[in-house]
Symmetry: C2
Subunit: 337 residues, 2 copies
Amino acid sequence: MRIVLDAMGGDFAPQVPVMGAVQAVKELGVKVFLTGKKELVESELKKYSYPEDLIEVVDASQSVSMDEQPSKALRKRDSSIHVGLNLVKEGRADAFVSAGNTGAVMAISLFTVGRIRGVERPAITAVLPNLTGYTFLLDVGANVDCKPFHLLQFAVMGSAYARYVLDEERPRVGLLNVGEEEGKGNELAKEAYRLLKDAKDKGLNFIGNAEGRDIYSGKFDVIVCDGFVGNVCLKLSESIAKTLAKILKEEIDKHFISKIGAITLKPAIKGFKRRIDYAEIGGAPLLGLNAPVIISHGSSNAKAIKNAIKTATRFVKSELNRHIEEEIERFGKSNGS
Amino acid sequence: MRIVLDAMGGDFAPQVPVMGAVQAVKELGVKVFLTGKKELVESELKKYSYPEDLIEVVDASQSVSMDEQPSKALRKRDSSIHVGLNLVKEGRADAFVSAGNTGAVMAISLFTVGRIRGVERPAITAVLPNLTGYTFLLDVGANVDCKPFHLLQFAVMGSAYARYVLDEERPRVGLLNVGEEEGKGNELAKEAYRLLKDAKDKGLNFIGNAEGRDIYSGKFDVIVCDGFVGNVCLKLSESIAKTLAKILKEEIDKHFISKIGAITLKPAIKGFKRRIDYAEIGGAPLLGLNAPVIISHGSSNAKAIKNAIKTATRFVKSELNRHIEEEIERFGKSNGS
């Protein structure tokens, strides 16, 4: 198994990606290609001992910043992302992992490896913790204007990912909407509902509309929506946890007795953090691309990077993209909707 | 000041609305009309002592359940909502307050009191706590398919509410979007951005795009979006706080020392709850209707009801609807977008 890791991607590059790569080769025994500025990456690597044949640095003279326009990033043909995806395209590696600019990775992936046959719109995804496990949400930003048929394809791809990579035997699929009942929603949701309902005959386990609260309720394994709504939900989710934690901290600091008591909460807080921590989740795929591509959170630590590499190996081993191609064909082409 | 309160609205009707009405007449000195099943409401009222001339029960033989279709509710001409709004329409009362079915209140309001001249689409709104104060979000469900011009009108109405009722001198208005930069977003958001930017010349304090995280960041006083996205965000927000609290509680219960420590957190938790509690907020208006209408959360307690009545009195005193009518006219008609 050979995984490319973007050594220049994320808020703490190249330090964190390099550390993550070292953890990955030691713990998972995979081979990792690190793409990035060679001198920089190698001087970072020198800090560690690891099986040297398992890490190979591949020089890339350019890097893409976190807020760079994808169209601009695409023109940097020697970026760590571009060089990395080319390694996968040429068959020298099996998958690509980055904690960098998601939009840029999507754009460069489309340019290099392209889409799976039959997939109209690849999607950016998110794996979100709920009370009992995880909810897989897509699209969270690649397609801000969607047609109903795109949501059907997201459901097919998301369902395949939940089944083959997240080990959900029969993933429960929902459509993000403003109410539970059939007939609710905007034009897009109403028509998508009809397509998803029809797809039940072909084996899609569509169980109905999911409301905003269901993103965290655990009632659904996969929830589909357009990339505008999904992106807003994702950023909203990240911020609420932080805001609530801040308000609680401010209140604890106001009361001496609470401040003392808060110390005893450390084990609970630790467990709490572990359960909502993206570092445990191991990144989220870009789905519909003709190669396994995993995005790790921009503020990933080394463990999150290692877990993203682990997810990439599962993606490869499960032959997910072969399954997606078959499923996409089985669920048919758009009739224009 | 004469406020109508829907005695049959909310999860704990008529007990909680009646208790809220009693608190309101005692603390605020307003007159409250309670609409609902007369016997039921009066037997509830008997439990309290209060200035009897300040509460009047108006019989309404029907009630609307929380999940009833607005179209069906509209046909109940003797519902507590319908009777209540008619009192306002006939000039016998100044405002209407309900903790009941929001969609039904909107539909019956449109049928009875109608829209403010010039307003194309009245909006359902939400007042959400952030680190420093509140964010006023609209629309959160009345209009799942919007045109850009509707979002402009939401901004004008929301800005007026924030100024005249929430006392924000110069409310900062944002457009909910997937990125900060101009040019981001779906078709709706891109065109709405242009309209909002143009409206700055007429005094709208539009400060740019708001991302999902900005609903709680405190950077914006008013955020506009279509009712589909707004509804999903509102339900998502409510659920995340609950989910995080549950996960934290589960973790605290796992550790004996944390369980002990948690007791000392009571004062902090109390302060925390007060800051994020909708009971403190006092409901949210339906904006664009030709009468002051305030919706309180379905699970409101008596204090929340009382605060919603207080908000209604501020709405009336500020002559908000006269301001909205003037502003809507000043910002002009739709040119079709």
